[in-house]
């Protein structure tokens, strides 16, 4: 099986910069449907900054970013970052429901149950998120990956998604990433661990200023 040719996401001569400070210049990438691209580089090379630019949180001041040939983002990417989007006052189910509502999905109780079971949080629906460990809290934000499909959000931007996860959970995550890519989605992710399922690698060290 091969990656489809038409790029979902194309970067040309992109400058990765944080405020006034350019980190990388001339970054080029073509991400097609079915791609799982592992974004690597030493600390400080701009991996998180690049994902934030693509997510729309930071501006792209130099270079071109196109999504299926269009310069403005016509899709809703999924963005998983170090700040998880989890509110400590809410229960696990309330947090997961909100994260799915953002993408127009109204999950049933069964959907929530299946998603939480997939991440090993079955029975935690009514537990306050403030009572969970860091790893368990991260699992809440990852649980939505179980229910999101390429027709809802075709591009996943994942910043260190495997942090604080055990080996079993990492394996489940990689399997889900493959399923998503196989269904036509694209993934751009950073991880300090090896990503066995990646079929592309972008090394930002090659573009450092």
């Amino acid at each position: 099986m091969t990656v489809l040719d038409t790029p979902l996401l194309a970067l040309e001569e992109l400058t990765v910069q944080r405020g006034e400070i350019p980190l990388c210049e001339g970054v080029a990438l073509q991400l097609s449907a079915g791609s799982i691209c592992h974004l690597i580089g030493a600390n400080g090379t701009g991996k998180t900054t690049l994902l934030m630019q693509l997510a729309g949180l930071l501006p792209v001041l130099s270079g071109e970013v196109t999504y299926q040939g269009q310069s403005c983002l016509p899709i809703q990417p999924l963005y998983v970052s170090h700040q998880l989007g989890i509110h400590p006052n809410l229960t696990v189910a309330q947090n997961l429901t909100f994260l799915l509502n953002l993408y127009g999905i109204t999950p049933s109780a069964t959907d929530i149950d299946h998603a939480l079971t997939w991440v090993g949080l079955q029975g935690f629906e009514t537990i306050s998120s403030s009572h969970l460990s860091a790893g368990q809290t991260r699992r809440i934000t990852l649980a939505r990956l179980y229910l999101l499909t390429p027709d809802v959000t075709p591009l996943w931007l994942l910043d260190e998604p495997f942090t604080a996860l055990d080996v079993d959970m990492v394996a489940r995550m990689e399997e889900r990433l493959c399923e998503f890519a196989q269904a036509g989605g694209s993934i751009l992710m950073t991880s300090h661990q090896a990503v066995g399922v990646a079929n592309q690698v972008l090394d930002l060290s090659d573009y450092m200023v």
Binding site: M1, T2, V3, L4, T6, L8, G19, L29, S32, A33, G34, I36, M52, A55, G56, L57, L58, P59, Q68, P74, I75, Q76, P77, L78, Y79, S81, H82, Q83, L84, G85, I86, H87, N89, L90, Q94, F98, L99, N101, L102, G104, I105, T106, S128, P150, D151, V152, P154, C178, E179, A181, Q182, A183, G184, G185, V197, N199, Q200, V201, L202, D203
Partner: protein, 248 residues
């Protein structure tokens, strides 16, 4: 950049054209946003109770400090209640947007292309209900504490209801401007209070006019108009400043 084909089990590749994958953005609805924000507020009682306790402490201690002379209490009562209301509002402003930035909720809203002005409006309306809305009701305590007449107390409550939305919007814009600054909460009163003082002056003036038997309705109407305009306009301004939070 290196390429290698996906080697995954027996799952067949779906021969989907990428164009078939373009998803028209679906967004979170008004009721879903409202429910979420209500849950956050309801389950974070300590955060909104504290400013209310501050309000009660100020209006309770004030009569004890100035003495029990009725004429003096009646003269100072309206101003004391309004100042307490303003201070309790300013106290609660730090929790308006900072937690959302810190825990990643704001980022998720922006990335998912949710309507940020709508989220801001809902958040502020609910915040008003749990802050100035309750303060307005508690202002009726001015009757026993400051020896005000019931008529004056109802006018005082009306002035808080009509003027506090504008105060909240001014505090919210100051909070959003200082969101990404370290210790930005210290700057919020410095930025917002000069703009809030005219509201305070007009509101207390309106109550005084009614207490003197004159017509203070035009001033209340002016306050109401200002609040309506600020509620209609400020969420868009605040949303724009919130989107710049990651630039620092």
């Amino acid at each position: 950049m290196t390429d290698r084909p996906i080697q995954v089990g027996s799952v067949a590749a779906m021969n989907k054209s990428p164009n078939a994958i373009v998803a028209a953005p679906r967004s979170i609805g008004f009721m879903q946003l409202w429910r979420r924000e209500w849950q956050v507020k309801q389950q974070g009682a300590v955060q909104w109770l504290y400013p209310l306790v501050l309000f009660l402490v100020i209006i309770t201690l004030f009569p004890l400090a100035v003495g029990s002379e009725p004429a003096l209490l009646q003269r100072l009562g309206v101003s004391a209640v309004w100042i307490a209301a303003l201070l309790s509002l300013v106290m609660g402003v730090d929790g308006l947007f900072k937690p959302a930035l810190d825990n990643g909720t704001l980022a998720q809203l922006v990335v998912a292309k949710a309507s940020l002005p709508l989220w801001v409006l809902i958040r502020l309306v609910i915040h008003w209900i749990f802050s100035s809305g309750i303060v307005a009701a508690l202002s009726l305590l001015a009757v026993p504490l400051f020896q005000l007449s019931w008529f004056e107390a109802w006018i005082l409550m009306a002035s808080i209801v009509t003027g506090s939305p504008m105060l909240l919007m001014l505090s919210a814009i100051a909070s959003s401007l200082t969101l990404s600054l370290k210790n930005g909460a210290v700057l919020v009163p410095l930025i917002a209070l000069p703009m809030q003082l005219p509201v305070l002056i007009f509101a207390t003036g309106a109550v005084d006019l009614f207490a003197s038997g004159l017509n203070g309705l035009p001033i209340l109407a002016l306050l109401l108009a200002g609040s309506i305009v600020s509620v209609l306009v400020m969420p868009w301004v605040i949303a724009t400043t919130l989107k710049m939070s990651w630039l620092n």
